[in-house]
């Protein structure tokens, strides 16, 4: 019972997070590309309930931000200007998954006030908005790439493990070849073969294909090992004795025993692949500005100056820690459940 509750909590958390990313336009106060050139690297805006006179206000508000080169952060708060936060107000238009468009936002402040709950980047763009929008591409690409590489891994691993012999040899040597290839140079070659500007959809497909195709060999080898041991188990041998066909055996008896490995692989690979995009962006294979992705959000953290003086740039990375933990935990619990069902 306890395990079951844990699973529901994890899945609920993941669902809420993914909904926030899917409806980024609603939860984000600004468009991801809007530059506020007077507010580069602004620290997170503080939300107040009690004003300078000590009065409590039911409607939360933020103070205005002012450039001040003498302050350490480069900004000071202008307590004279108060901007109340409006909920479910209308602002910049956005689209959800290309299906419908709206201008309704969860919260807004009136211009010229600004609300940067996670601070702003070097162009004065709202980090919260960029984080939510960036997740649309990164999460989907990361998950699909993980699914693709595990999918290929299942097909090849199962064939190699189940049939053995020369099929096994050929497929596994192929997998080793994939592990040994110098991918960096191949990707550079791919980049030079592509047109100069690659549209977002092309990048999306490229990311999935590049990462997914490169990554299948490790899950493939693992699944082969699992299939190899599963096909020797007594009930499988017995089913074969009763005349079950190869395909039936694979589907009904062998593959279900590898579900645990598949799920853990998925949960392990998805975050890895989301980060792999940082490297690809460096090679010019990622999404271009101003489109955000989590890879491009983390890229400034490689600079010492950002690292030591703009701490809020870390927040997106910190948020992802519980998200990835939730993935692992969900995979873990699912695996346990499947095991108890299978036995």
């Amino acid at each position: 019972m306890k395990r079951r509750r844990k699973l529901w909590i994890t899945l609920g958390f993941l669902a809420a997070f993914h909904l926030a990313v899917l409806f980024a336009g609603f939860f984000a106060p600004y468009n991801f590309a809007t530059q506020n050139r007077e507010f580069p690297f602004a620290p997170p805006t503080r939300v107040h309930f009690v004003d300078a006179q000590g009065n409590f206000r039911l409607r939360p508000f933020v103070y205005g931000l002012q450039n001040d080169s003498s302050a350490l952060s480069g900004f000071t708060t202008d307590f004279g200007r108060v901007y109340p936060i409006h909920f479910l107000a209308s602002g910049a238009r956005y689209e959800v998954a290309g299906i419908f468009s709206s201008s309704l936002h969860l919260f807004e402040v009136d211009s010229p006030g600004r609300i940067f709950l996670l601070g702003s980047d070097g162009y004065g763009r709202d980090q919260l908005s960029r984080f939510l929008y960036g997740g649309q591409l990164s999460l989907l690409a990361g998950l699909l790439a993980a699914a693709l590489s595990v999918g290929i891994g299942i097909a090849i691993g199962a064939l190699a493990g189940f049939y053995g012999g020369w099929i096994d040899d050929v497929l596994m040597r192929g997998a080793e070849l994939f592990l040994a290839l110098p991918w960096l140079y191949l990707l550079l070659a791919v980049r030079s073969a592509l047109p100069l500007h690659v549209s977002e959809w092309q990048v999306f497909l490229l990311l999935i294909c590049a990462i997914g195709l490169i990554g299948w060999s490790r899950p493939g080898r693992l699944i082969r090992g699992a299939v190899l041991s599963a096909k020797e188990r007594n009930f499988v041998v017995a089913a074969r004795g009763f005349g079950a066909s190869n395909l039936f055996l694979l589907r009904r008896h062998v593959l279900p025993q590898t579900y645990g490995i598949i799920l853990t692989q998925l949960a392990l690979l998805a975050p890895q692949y989301i980060l792999a995009e940082v490297t690809l962006t460096f090679l010019g294979l990622g999404v271009g500005e101003p489109m955000p992705s989590w890879g491009s959000l983390f890229a400034p953290l490689q600079q010492y100056a950002v690292l030591v003086s703009d701490w809020w740039m870390f927040i997106p990375a910190v948020i992802l820690v519980p998200v990835f933990l939730a993935y692992y935990s969900a995979a873990d619990t699912l695996q346990e459940r499947l095991k108890s069902v299978a036995l």
Binding site: R37, Y123, L188, T281, G284, G288, E289, V308, S309
Partner: protein, 592 residues
Amino acid sequence: MRSFPRFAAALLYVAAAVLCAASVVRADGLTGPPGASSTANEEDFLVTNNHPGHEGGQIVVALRSEPKTLNPVLATDISSRDVIRCLTADLIHINRGTLKTEPSLAESWKLSPDGRVYTLKLRRGVRFSDGQPFTADDVVFSFHVYLDPKVNAPQRDLLIVGGKPIGVEKIDEDTVRFTLAEPYAAAERLFDSVAMLPRHLLENEYNAGKFDQVWPLTTTPAQFAGLGPFRLKEYVPGVRIVLERNPYYWKEDRAGTRLPYLDRVVFLFVDSEDAQVIRFQSGDTDVLSRFNAEDFRVLQQTAATRHYRLYDLGPGLEFNFLFFNLNDLSSRGLPEIAAKQAWFRDVRFRQAVSAAVDREAIVRLVYGGRATPIWGPVTPGDKLWTDDKIPHPARSLDSARQLLKSAGFSWNGAGALIDPHGKPVEFSILTTSSNVQRSKIATLIQDDLSQLGMNVHVVPLEFRAVVDRLLNTHNYEAAVMGLANGDTDPNPEMNVWLSSGSTHLWHPGQQKPATAWEAEIDRLMEQQLVTMNYAKRKELYDRVQEILYRQMPLICLVSPDVLAGAKDNVADFHPAILDPYALWNVEQLYVR
């Protein structure tokens, strides 16, 4: 690719090891250096004008990478050249403080009235760091090596004047004559950084055709000899290279102390700019240069507590710009780019882009205010040559729209810019992904131009891929790049402005000028090259700058400040805007 080393040569065509202000030549019978025989010729010291310091101590400097070689003729990378500058000397030197030429190993020189023959008088009694005397034979040998096409020295291009290599002949033991095929303005600047080589050590290898194997990084101190303030002491692969005082160095201060003051210079290999900044901040290194404004902001916060000073020297010689592909693509199989060139070739289109770019925002957001907006390629740092008449128009979207309208562009209902044939204006800007500043500039321009209805994409690529596209395949639409003048003189820039030049970025290597204004620039640049009078040369170069401003083949954006830092106890530290920014007067530095 071939042309980039050539450009790098122009860029790096500068060296260290010099003194401040005017120098006085004194020939007195000072005692020889330790180990020198008492019968040595009297030494013809160069007496420096600095405030006398005291001897001893060392400074530690970080290099971005391990030097590739210690061979001064073949070195092209910044790290190698930084080390070699401390080990070698040239005949005539550009003082990085005054930016004027001054005597170095040549104590004086005469120019013939026709401007073609330079006669150099060498300093007497000068010895290499191994104690062997330096003579006119070494000079002739050195230039022979630099000019040998088989050696393929990066400086060779610059030593070819009027299509012919400079002629070098020995008149007597301490007089050398250089003959130029044509008069060449400010030719004495060409001698800067041409390091003199020891004939006694290198002649055999050169004659055997193995000069490319001379002086690798693994050279032992006994195999190396130079005329610089320091000599080789130790090389630890992957960690450091240590130089020690050259006891035969040919400069002394007013108090009669032989330079350099420092016992040692230690170069550490620290492979990223961030790591260099951290090492400097924590006190591991004494001197820092070549870092960006963001790091300057971080370093400022601990300057007082960690005991170092920071220097902002104002705009240097680097200028960043946006440019469009104006190459002839008819035989390249790039029809899409060729179609867009109709816009790029229209000067009103380029002027509109220039008017729409927010240079102030670039200065503020990319350089934290430590840069200067520019409208022409000669930066305000180059005070001798910058043309004050170039206007500095403020950003104006209105005038940009006017220009586009007059060129036949219009806007559709959604606000997108449409060309006269009804095609929406969409192009991509190429940048190098390793250069954070230029990528940021491109992203700001993208936003600026979207306000004109242009759909602009930023394409960051790896550096070599960018160079290949710009100079070889011409497969790009627009790019943000930067160049740094190699000297405060128009001549090293010939390659950029001549239509036949290999770094004439927007259309390199033209057989004959593609446009009338490029032909005019060619004519003016060729003319200034043979004009000896500064005022007349300035007038010609001003006209080049004005044509460039009107035609906007390069949309000049900003010139970043030159930044440097040194520990409080490093005395006589005077960073300069000309490469090498920090250690140019290394022989005068001392530790308090």
